[in-house]
């Protein structure tokens, strides 16, 4: 689905590279998470995929085609909900379709369907100020879904939420992923979140990084929070935390 081939990148204002000759790939329909310390370059990977930063070296392929040749191949969901306060919930959700010039009737039908799926149909005519933090993130996810892309890039989408809402949202996200069969690349620095959600975890340990260690989470789907108490999962979490701590102290 997504493949990085020899990707190197350096911000113009920095005197060091963010990544050098990076290679990794994410399979179709996979839920993969990238973890690493703050400032290690996790978000740069997303910015390169969605074209916000210009590729300097190497290739990024989606479905075996370079991203420069593609349109609407990925949808980005940032940490903040970034809902437009002057638009109603349904108008916010329709934004990517509006930009893609989707016919009005189709926009309305898809919007209604996705709002029903995320449990917010009753809020279609409300404004973002009328919603709680968790609800806003659900709307932001619905908007991401309606971009029509099969690759979803979720950059710490729950980090601004309180613990209980975050836990609810993680379970909700897994449910949505199973329903929509999208490929999700997720960024977090919360190890427990990464383990609970992902099939695959990529760990960034160095800077500049040329590889990300790939760890498979030995848990089948559907999952529940009780699974996190299994001895092999507890051990995996400890190992991941230890690796991240080592990378921070580097």
């Amino acid at each position: 689905m997504l493949r990085f081939e020899n990707v190197s990148f350096r911000y113009a204002e920095d005197d060091f590279s963010m990544m050098e000759h990076l290679n990794f790939q994410v399979e179709d329909g996979e839920f993969a998470t990238i973890i690493g310390a703050s400032g290690c370059g996790k978000s740069t990977i997303f910015r390169l995929i969605n074209g916000l930063e210009k590729l300097q070296q190497g290739r990024i392929l989606v479905d075996e085609r370079p991203v420069q040749e593609l349109k609407n191949y990925s949808a980005f969901m940032p940490q903040k909900d970034l809902l437009f306060p002057w638009r109603t919930i349904e108008k916010n959700i329709c934004l990517p379709m509006e930009l893609a010039k989707t016919p009005k009737a189709e926009q309305e039908a898809k919007c209604k369907e996705v709002l029903e799926q995320v449990g917010l149909l009753a809020y279609a005519k409300k404004y973002p100020k009328d919603l709680s933090g968790g609800m806003k993130q659900r709307v932001a996810f619905a908007r991401t879904l309606l971009s029509g892309a099969d690759l979803l890039l979720l950059d710490e989408p729950f980090s601004a939420l309180d613990y209980l809402t975050r836990v609810d949202m993680q379970e909700w996200l897994l449910h949505q992923w199973e329903h929509y069969h999208k490929t999700i690349l997720f960024i977090t620095h919360d190890v427990e979140e990464a383990v609970f959600l992902s099939k695959t975890i990529f760990i960034i340990q160095d800077r500049p990084f040329s590889k990300m260690e790939r760890v498979e989470v030995p848990l089948p789907y559907p999952r529940n929070r009780e699974d996190l108490k299994r001895p092999e999962i507890v051990e995996l979490k400890e190992q991941l935390i230890e690796k991240l701590r080592r990378s921070v102290s580097l």
Partner: protein, 247 residues
């Protein structure tokens, strides 16, 4: 009403104080009392309301309208292209260093006593706050929101209409509210310097007759007109951008 109570009480106290001081001075040509001004306003109601108020409001309205169009166009142009911003911004700022009262007679030489000499003064005074405040509104657009739109494939034009324009709306309303009193002042100054009708002209005429209350009457009328206009814009603002605090 309750929140306006302190302001109303202060205004009432100042009026009472004014009335007392005017009574002590007892020279209406120097300081007329508020009651004398009200009486004069009533006596002069026909020329004030039927001739001079419409004349001044025409200057104010026309000047403000042209200023809004000009100011917003300049703001859009400066936001659209950094080269235009670098070229225009200093010129716009420099235009504000021109003393309006000094240049207004020149406008009268150019346009005579027609409405345009006065409209030009009004424009010169009001286009600056509109252009700069609206431009600042465009600049206040959140970068993350702009990037989000770009990831959806939005063009520069779509980013402008779907994001920058709504983001700048609160600034636009603030600019109008600032510009209204300034446009009234501009029109009055221009009429004061050379006109055949208008509240500024009328006030000057009353001064030559040493009619203190007659000088104040059109000034009161100007203030009330400006306050009503600002009030209307505030109501419109509340209706249009109820989401203002969410930005």
């Amino acid at each position: 009403m309750r929140k306006h109570l302190p302001a109303l009480l202060l205004a009432a106290a100042l009026l009472v104080l004014w009335q007392i001081i005017a009574g002590i001075i007892d020279a209406a040509y120097i300081l007329p009392s508020p009651t004398q001004i009200c009486v004069r306003l009533w006596e002069l109601r026909e020329p004030l309301f039927l001739v001079h108020l419409p004349a001044t409001m025409s200057v104010t309205g026309l000047g403000l309208l042209i200023s809004i169009v000009l100011g917003v166009l300049l703001a859009v142009a400066m936001d659209w292209n950094p080269h235009i911003e670098r070229a225009l911004y200093p010129v716009i700022v420099a235009s504000q260093t021109i003393p309006t009262t000094a240049i207004a007679p020149l406008f009268i030489l150019w346009f005579g006593y027609s409405i345009w000499s006065k409209v030009l003064v009004t424009i010169l005074i009001t286009f600056f706050p509109i252009a700069i405040t609206v431009f600042d509104g465009f600049k206040a657009t959140k970068r993350e929101m702009e990037e989000l739109l770009l990831t959806y494939g939005a063009s520069k034009r779509e980013v402008f209409f779907k994001l920058k324009l709504p983001t700048a709306l609160p600034n636009f309303f603030s600019a109008i509210k600032m510009a209204i009193p300034m446009s009234v002042i501009g029109a009055a100054i221009a009429e004061w310097l050379g006109a055949q009708e208008g509240l500024g002209y009328f006030s000057k005429r009353m001064m030559t007759q040493l009619d203190g209350a007659g000088v104040f009457a059109p000034v009161v009328l100007l203030s009330v007109a400006a306050m009503i206009a600002v009030g209307i814009v505030t109501v419109l603002e509340y209706k249009c951008i109820h989401w203002r605090k969410e930005i």
